[in-house]
Symmetry: D2
Subunit: 423 residues, 4 copies
């Protein structure tokens, strides 16, 4: 454990740590994870570019953020997955990257084989044929996960966990979630109200490594685990990567609000055909997603302060599993707005995006920035990382900031503060 004791804020500890490898451990070895791995491998060979990563292309007052975070050369990967396939096989089946792109790193990818997963089919409908799993109670499985992590630590690596698994079914927190003591008891009793992603989060925190949640599941955002994060002084963040449609929503809604144009309706539909789409086609799983997606507009527009403009909005979000499209997710938004004298107008946005291509650099950024935060002694919820999430964590004032541009300002301010404390 490295979180107890004094945290040296100076550059020395920093520089020391920067020279050890950073291991990104991923629950879920699917399209996002393998696209991330392939991209890092190709980029460090100079064969492609890690476009979309703020930690690669961003700067603060001219100083590249890249200089503050672990080099691509020092990044390593590992994953847990309930299917036993190696990363090359998964990447090929995911149809995200071309064969030509996979060819030069085929061996490197093939060497990434998943560890057995903590899994429970009741939480992820629609996945079948799962065999590559751990057994025993949730607590026994958590202990195994900690052992998996500790093996990397023992080899001198820093480790960060980013959830890249499927969206789990939406179920409100149960009694087991409200205190660490109850939660640990429930783990031992293999309580069915505990979700696999919560077991992973628990393991990460117990092991003292940062944890980010890329899916809309309730995982680290329960009282029991927030308590553990504080106790362990580990930074955490989430949830649900802000990739396509919501990314656009979080810039268009503030733009209309800035101009005081009213909104009467916002209809968002998506078609996608990857494993994520299959899972989200099940109403239970979709419910988790819907909750994070629907909250955005209300929190952005603050209808109570502008009831004339935003007090009566029909907001709907649909996700449709549509196999022809594979990972090439498409969003179609229709916005019914009104202006001067209530005259109606419409904006339609058609986003032909790529799910994993947009998500991969977010995972890279989060892993690096959580590691940076940990090296600077940050612990608990990292609300300044809200830039990356559909459902960001609350700010200290209780407000949830959804506006992409304010999020960007907050993100860069925090990174600037790390720079200063390092200098």
């Amino acid at each position: 454990m490295d979180r107890d004791g004094d945290i040296p804020s100076g550059y020395q500890r920093e520089r020391h740590l920067m020279t050890t490898p950073l291991r990104i451990v991923l629950p879920g070895l699917g399209a996002v994870s393998t696209t991330l791995m392939a991209g890092v491998m190709l980029s460090r060979k100079g064969l492609s570019r890690p476009i979309g990563a703020v930690t690669e292309y961003g700067d603060v007052d001219g100083t590249p953020i890249r200089d503050l975070v672990t080099s691509l050369d020092d990044i390593r990967f590992a994953a847990w997955d309930p299917f036993g396939e190696d990363a090359l096989t998964v990447a090929r089946n995911s149809n995200v990257l071309s064969d030509a792109d996979l060819a030069p790193i085929a061996d490197e990818l093939a060497a990434v084989t998943p560890m057995t997963a903590a899994f429970d089919e009741r939480w992820v409908q629609a996945l079948e044929g799962v065999t590559h799993v751990k057994t025993g109670t949730w607590m026994e499985q958590a202990e195994e996960l900690i052992e998996d992590i500790d093996a990397f630590r023992a080899a001198g690596e820093r480790v960060v966990m980013v959830w890249c698994g499927s969206t789990e079914a939406y179920r409100p927190p149960s009694a087991a979630h409200f205190s660490l003591a109850d939660f640990e008891r429930a783990l031992k009793e293999h309580d069915p109200t505990i979700a696999p992603s919560q077991v992973y989060a628990y393991a990460a925190l117990r092991a003292g490594i940062p944890y980010a949640n890329g899916a809309p599941n309730i995982s680290v955002d329960i009282p029991a685990l927030l308590e553990l994060a504080e106790r362990q002084s580990v930074p955490i963040c989430g949830k649900d990567f802000k990739t396509g449609q919501t990314l656009i929503k979080t810039v268009l809604a503030p733009a209309l609000r800035a101009r005081k144009l009213g909104i009467r309706g916002w209809f968002s539909t998506n078609i996608l055909g990857n494993r994520d789409g299959l899972v989200l086609d099940h109403p239970d799983n979709f419910r988790s997603k819907e909750v994070t997606k629907l909250g955005v507009l209300e929190e952005l527009l603050e209808p109570e302060s502008q009831p004339d403009l935003y007090g009566n909005i029909d907001h709907a979000v649909r996700i449709n599993y549509y196999p022809p499209r594979g990972d090439e997710k498409e969003g179609w938004d229709n916005i019914d707005l009104f202006g001067w004298l209530d005259y109606p107008m419409q904006i339609k946005v058609n986003f032909l995006c790529r799910d994993s291509i947009l998500a991969a650099p977010i995972v890279l950024d989060l892993a690096r920035l959580l590691d940076l935060a940990a090296r600077h002694g940050e612990a608990g919820p990292q609300d300044w990382l809200g830039f990356y999430f559909k459902s960001p964590m609350e700010r200290s004032d209780g407000h949830i900031e959804h506006d992409l541009f304010r999020q960007e300002t907050i993100l860069l301010e925090k990174i600037r503060s790390f720079m200063v404390s390092t200098a």
Copy 2:
């Protein structure tokens, strides 16, 4: 009250002035002008709402901006136009507002008849049958405009001019534009390199009233008139109202830049069928527009600082005169972007907007805010009003801020400063 020292010509102390009428004088009595007038008339009767006006719906820290500016009840209108039709006739022919909306204010609109215009057909191709014009040299016409303005001043009104005329042909500045002395000599010689909009701007500044430029013409942004604005201590701003497509562009481009997603191309096309569309269909006039529209992306993305992401963008803007659509302008944008490992994606935005409905509240805001600025002793270019323009004025550091959200912050900061100085 705060301002010590001399108050510029024609302006008295704030509280006193708020009780006198504000006369908005408009070169151009077309769709935008009549939509503005109709909206103010309907709103003060409680028959409709001035949606889209920041000076109506905005606030700074909870204080309504409305409290700082002239009430709708105290706003009056006048216009110059080369066609002699009254505002009701124009409004009906413009097909922006329904007959049902025009009915309750028909008499009030019909009473607004235009003054004769300063005009030169060489500057606005495609308009025919113009008869309602002033004669004599440019200087003689300017003097007549000043008399028109002074008549309102003599009646105890504050006056603000906002250019709502057609887009003039694009012609680079000539020798006549570089000093006030040369400019005034050229006015007297009726120099053909002087555009009508420059004559209006000159008249406004000579009369000591604020001037805003809603079109992409070169008007007040020439050295001669900047000199005059400083000498007269009059606030000015411009240019080209940021309404539909560019509004969207100035939020999407910063969003992609925030996420470090690359851009390979941006194709923007428009169809519209109003008088503006007819005028812009002529290549000479369009050239003015193209210049203001094309500059936006480069200034937003700063390609020199991110050549990998924004160094090679094909950016095209098209405007097509298409009569079936009338004032209901439609924009279609296609953005070719690229992300992780250079994989391509596309965003398409289809904006079914309404030209005059989006422009009218901007005119209202600008008139009120320029008047507010004048009452606080502001003079010369008001860069903090860049929020409203496609081609904003330079900031004091030489930078042109296009990002709508930064523009909003700057706007509200300035208004906050007026509040503080008023308190």
Copy 3:
């Protein structure tokens, strides 16, 4: 005149009949019905135009179809509706036509008050507050409907019924539907497996008047009623008006097939906010619609004959209740196609249509053409009217023709045959 032999019940010779009024009786006094009525009233006053009606604008070899059918001047209306509101009130609430359009015919519309409806809330979820209904068993209600019809007949009118009511829940036919004897027994027993629309169809056929079904319900297309139609020598047709998205689908799919371009997926979504949208938002009701909408592609593309091109299509249809849009339905289609060497392409169609505006002329055409058919002795299913339906009736060879252009040819051929026999 041509027809020798017996003329089916209630019909006299053609020329004579053309001079008597034609009464269109409509189960359902909603947006479609009132838009139809208003349009006929306005058109015969010369205040508007019945655009979209083939019986007004179409011709066969230069002879206007208008000459064959009842003049607009001789058309009258009546309706049954479970809400008691008159046609003017309904038209205003439907927000299809402007107040300006309704004004000149307000009295005429207000005079159309609905007769009490045969209704059962179990068949149309989502409608509440229904009070204007008939009571007694289904058979007693049917007898009342027949009396309603006979009153018009007694006044010398020809009568045609077109179902314009809500979409009923999807339920497979029961034992009661397979023979007329069983069906009549079930009517007397008020069998809950009988739908209101079936009661109307029964009444129409018993009364000897033609019946068209504009909704996707199973109504006249059950063995019991087909048997009755034959026995009564009454022409019938259906079902589900082909208005927006399906209209486009039935021309694009044949175009791709003509060019041998393959189809991998077709995703169709709709947003609409009228009563139809509300009803279809309920899964039971939507199921009826989905069945008629999904069948189209398979029958158009004949995948068994072109398995390489059309053997693996993901076809999805969604309808979303979205109140901001009212009657102005919007369809968005995405088609994933493939061409030479299997390279993928996409077509996206965004149809901003108007539900009732597209449906109203279909009702007019069907009423006139069914009447024309009846006058020519046609009886039973009129497959030549498939041009108007999402789910057309089978042709005599068992094939269902969905191709709009083949349907048009068939329609015009049939009308030509009536012309010849009339000459």
Copy 4:
């Protein structure tokens, strides 16, 4: 020469000819030509599929059209091009097909090197660096082309020419074009009003081989060459392949006409970045295209017969050179239509197509079907091939059929007649 003397209509001549190779000779070795070649090569190896070819996937009454035409195994290629690059190099630079698709046929493509071209830079603006050209007068160049063709004939091959070169500048016919005698004199005088494509057409006809024109140029459709085609008994057809946007237009317009929905405007814009786009960006060249594209609607809708519905249409077509898109042409259409009571509606079609992928199977079909026609003694304009063209040839009654579905019927009828005469 095989066109003089009796044409045996029986299967024997047919079958004999079917066993000799068919050489498709292409003026223009660009994206379309190389995509065609690659597709035929891949398909006969069983590595891909010639989707989109009616002669591969179509049938007449169950009999595959494939059985009537030359097998893919017997097809050979040759091309003339003003750049000297081989087909592999061109295919790679065209970025139409992936490297993975080109790999297995790289040698075969590399072996296709162009013959020197007849060329004149005044006819194709925007192309630079042209060196691989014939010299001498037009007549001398034509004689060389005939020698090129005769060499294939001498080797026992049948030969068909399909123009796949760039669009030439639009220039109305001159005196030289109105009779064969004048035309041949002008060829000898190297008259600058003669376009290169006319020289190719002349050579084809002189050599007695069929000629199809895939571009909008005026080539074989001048009196002089029509006269030659008749004299030589050679079948010809054109012009301008109907690929993306116009294909859709020729099905949507008839659909709206069938339903008697009015059209007020049709705005069509395209973005593409291949050599075709570069050439069409020049106004002279675009003019040729615009003429063929604009004629479609008028001829489809027959406004004189439906002035209320189609008498006032604003129709605009734009093509924009936009390099990011390469060969992946994108069309965006907006249609303003009106229905019942003149209420307006809109249809927008966004076609993400691929220029060469859509054109290649058309070239294959035309070559095979012209050869089929020639074998059956057809000569002169083949209007039944209008299915493939934006600007089809006149029917014998002077009418130009644009409706895709009527064109399909005519095409299949003609092929059926060949089947019958062959049987």
